[in-house]
Point group: C2
């Protein structure tokens, strides 16, 4: 099995390292990841600038290709240029921080998996619910390996990918796996205004996330309750129910 | 009516200017838009840097606020900081180039409308199918005004926005309006490799879009046939059909 690994925290992150270690026994793993932190880039592509690629070494071994772009760029470039054959699966992560609820829309981690799906490649995004760079990623890494090994058994449509979120708990405290839907929630945005040394204002985004869901089948609720949340997501954004109503109005 | 206008081509573009002119008779229009081209940024947010805002003048009149961020940043910052009250509607565009099919996922124009919807504000994204900066935007601008004026009649759910695409044709050649779904298609990616003066490679993305749809109700097909395509889109990405199958597997 040929496995492409990417992420949005950058090729130097702990999460991608743990993921690669866990996937190596399953096949040939190639890493193509951003050369720096790319959080909250959404499904951005680099179209107005060219991309650079450098070989990245870790522990005195070749670890992978570092790309001067977004997670979606990494997948596109890997498939079009860097890999000799189309990968059998793309795994994106392990992200530091949950990608649940509406955060999926802002997520570079999920967008890399989406890009793979658009290219016809099965894909998994995996995130661990902590921003601690030194967190133990082993449960998330084993979860990813478990899913990759069994992916074909799930018989998912080619337009669907798996978004997996893992609570930052030791394995014996994880209550199990829950198949979930994308949760509902909103960010309460605040922009803190500061003045630069010239007296000109600038604004820092600081949001707080408000859960609106209490359904245990919502991804953000499931992880808070100690479950690994697996959400199948697709990208037909059409609101089919609204089509009929609109047709009556035009 | 308080109308917030943004885009992803930047505050200097012709499209946003035409849009603002068309919307002024309907209410109070405030422009908060990126200070530069932001195409293909997807639903990116600026989280690792602060945002700058400058007042932008056009034809010797105050035109709007130019923000050093993405379209989604503009909407968030406008609502949280720059506007005295929550706008009644957000209109994003007029984008130069279609946002149909899977391109919706990469679109900064649509992401601005999505961000508005996430903040509980009705939203319209509007795009014109040409990259010609001097194209006649009048049909698209009048279409936007028509939709904004009648938006409340559509009785859309609060989680749905309208994605509108207008063919680059004179009005008498437009065949009408079609309520559409997001079309299917794929990009065939190519990365052109070049060498810099130091002999190091860099890669430019050049894709060609392959329509996979022939259904006249697909947005990309409708515009090619000369219709204005209006697609209601929402952001519950869950593939509900896949949930049951997955539940059997875990």
């Amino acid at each position: 099995m040929n496995i492409l690994v990417t992420n949005d925290d950058g090729i130097t992150s702990q999460g991608i390292y743990s993921l690669v270690e866990a996937l190596r026994p399953l096949g040939s793993v190639t890493v193509v990841a951003p050369d720096r932190q790319q959080s909250a880039v959404g499904h951005a592509l680099t179209v107005s600038e060219p991309l650079r690629v450098v070989r990245f070494w870790r522990d005195e071994q070749f670890f992978g290709y570092a790309v001067s772009g977004t997670p979606a760029d990494c997948v596109k470039l890997a498939v079009a240029r860097l890999l000799p054959t189309k990968p059998d699966i793309v795994v994106s992560g392990i992200n530091h921080g949950y990608n649940t609820g509406i955060n999926v829309l802002y997520s570079g981690t999920v967008s890399a998996a989406t890009e793979a799906m658009l290219l016809g490649i099965p894909a998994v995004a995996i995130s661990l619910g902590t921003f601690d760079e030194n967190a133990d990623c082993s449960v998330a890494a084993r979860t990813a390996a478990y899913i990759v090994e069994r992916y074909h058994e799930f018989e998912l449509p080619p337009t669907t990918l798996l978004n997996v979120n893992v609570p930052p708990l030791p394995e014996h405290q994880i209550k199990g796996v829950r198949i979930t839907r994308q949760g509902q929630g909103v960010w309460n945005d605040e922009y803190e205004e500061r003045l630069d040394p010239m007296g000109r204002p600038y604004y820092w985004l600081r949001g707080t996330y408000n859960h609106l869901d209490s359904d245990p089948n919502a991804d953000d609720v499931a992880v808070e309750q100690g479950y690994i949340a697996i959400t199948p997501i697709h990208y037909d954004l059409t609101d089919r129910a609204a089509i009929e109503r609109l047709k009556e109005r035009f």
